[in-house]
């Protein structure tokens, strides 16, 4: 048996396999929608595998072996296709995995501590003009302060069109910031910088507006109260997910560095998914409730309700318990 004859015999099947691969790649199925053509594909694939396995025994030329590697790889990618997990698995992730992951994750606690700690500190520094003169002006800059004062000088009122449009804007803008914070978490330092920067700037704005007799202060708190809980928690969560990602690079726990990174990335995914959901909820709140002229108790009530909802989500759904999926 020489190679030329062998190749001549096998070439027909290889060509057929290539043709079927082409059809599967273009249309996701074979041209004849019969079970027979699918099993034919599997048969051809297996025999190509067998040819590759025996290639060295047959002493095939290297170029032919290279061809077989491509052919088997191509058929393999068609036979074992990506499984499209439906929407239900994402819902399951947000409702079941996320609270548990958040409840148990030390990185989320650290991120929350960093974010809310710096936020509170910056707020105290900015609100106390007599003890820390010029802090808010230095952090925010005069231009930003005056534009903030301008926008909150008038009592809140806007049209429905404005609400709808701003919801869209907040979904796009704020969620993007959260996702960027998460992505930079893999390098750890940029994530910490972004989080701290946001905490300090937000805290300074809150503190400045909380001063006695500040222009537009009342309207400012009318605006931020309703969506504050969702939004601030979402920022802290995305920072926590980013930290979880980056910590995997050096706290490997005995794994190889890339394996540890992968493991931590999978752990971070439910956290960032929850953060995205919170960002979207915050965006709708910020779009519809916050700028509306609703009475303040109603907005505060919404803030309390949303905080309670998150408490339920994090603590009740996330509390570690026994059972098959105990964490």
């Amino acid at each position: 048996m020489n190679v030329a004859k062998l190749l001549e015999q096998r070439r027909q099947q290889w060509t057929e396999l290539e043709m079927l691969c082409g059809q599967l790649e273009v249309r996701g199925r074979t041209s004849r929608r019969t079970p027979g053509s699918i099993s034919r594909f599997a048969t051809l694939y297996r025999s190509a595998c067998a040819d590759l396995a025996l290639a060295n025994a047959y002493q095939l030329p290297p170029a032919t072996i290279a061809f077989l590697h491509r052919l088997v790889g191509r058929a393999h990618n068609q036979l074992y296709r990506s499984t499209s997990q439906g929407v239900s698995s994402w819902v399951d992730m947000v409702l079941h995995q996320s609270p548990k992951a958040i409840f148990n994750d030390i990185c989320v606690r650290i991120a929350a501590l960093v974010f809310f700690g710096l936020f509170t500190l910056s707020m105290i520094l900015a609100s106390n003009e007599s003890l820390f003169p010029g802090y808010a002006e230095r952090v925010l800059g005069g231009q930003q302060i005056s534009s903030m004062e301008d926008s909150f000088e008038q009592p809140l009122s806007a049209s429905t069109e404005h609400y709808i449009m701003m919801s869209g804007f907040y979904i796009q803008h704020n969620t993007s910031i959260g996702l960027q914070c998460f992505a930079w978490g893999i390098l750890l330092v940029p994530c910490l910088i972004i989080t701290s920067f946001n905490a300090v700037v937000l805290g300074a704005s809150f503190g400045y507006m909380a001063r006695e007799g500040s222009i537009g202060g009342d309207n400012f708190f009318q605006f931020v109260t309703a969506h504050g809980p969702f939004e601030l928690t979402a920022i802290a969560l995305s920072a926590g997910a980013g930290l979880r990602l980056g910590v995997g690079l050096f706290a490997t726990g005995g794994l190889r560095r890339t394996d540890s990174l992968q493991k931590n990335a999978i752990r971070a995914l439910p956290i960032i998914a929850a953060a995205v959901v919170l960002f979207v909820l915050a965006a709708f709140t910020e779009g519809f409730i916050s700028p509306s002229p609703l009475p303040y108790p109603l907005k505060a009530g919404w803030a309390i309700f949303s905080s309670g909802l998150m408490m339920f989500y994090f603590v009740v759904l996330g509390f570690p318990r026994g059972g098959p999926d105990a964490t």
């Binding site: 020489n2 030329a4 082409g22 002493q59 191509r74 996702l179």
Partner: protein, 310 residues
Amino acid sequence: MPQTAPLDTTTEVVTPENIGFKHLLAGPFRRLPAYLLDFAISTGGFLLVVFFIIVVGGFLGITLGNTIFPAFAAAGMLVTYFAISWFYGVYFETYFNGRTPGKWAMGLRVISADGHPIHGKQALLRNLLRVADLGPGTTLAALDADNPVFAVLPISTGVIGLTVMLCSRRLQRLGDLAAGTIVVIDERNWALPVARVDDERVPALASFIPADYRVSASMAKALAGYTERRAFLAKGRRNEIAKHLAEPLIERFEFRPDIDPDLLLYAMYYRTFLADQQQEPVALGPLAGFSPLLKDIDAQLPLSPQQVPA
């Protein structure tokens, strides 16, 4: 991968059929055009959606005299922009078997590092982390500080992703490392190399190689490697390369020393891979009566194979 594996941009995948096959890894110069293509397609898609929304929303707004449709249109545009900029790659890689349109055009495919198809979570991770890979961002303000466009237009340098890709063994960027994926070349239509010998001196010379000579596996590999590449080499270079193997063979087969080394290796290749093992007489044609053997060197004209008309 064992340390003895050759330094190459391939990765081995073991299938459920217990076959190890090699995938070609895709480097940055193949992935960048795919990314740019994807960027162009997603931007174009977004502009199409915007156009559609403006036409429909504006039309409804004018005919109904209502401003709520333009507001919905604007919100829809922003949400679409958000969805496309973050989830374009996730969608295509999940539902089209690891391929975005750009990757499809460049013959690339994302698969798990262990050869399995990519699943939704991996696609999500590697696409979210692209932000970090494309960084650090900068602007062109250094070129012209007064140009307002240069000052705000964000430019992604991609230095982080490029560096990580060069340092990782399987050309993975940060997103790939975190998701455990690799990008491989999955091309259509790889032509099966056809081994055909059109030099009629070759079968003639091959028939003189002793029948009891067995070609070892490594020798067969070397012969095939040489023959597949000899078409790209000049005559002098071929002889220079072939000499090292041909000289001991000439001695062993007791051939005349002026046999063309290139031709001898070609004949060995022919005998190993192409010739029928059943000893059927070779039609020598115009070469009848010629012998390359050393003992026949005085029996006939000193005719070296190069001078034989092909």
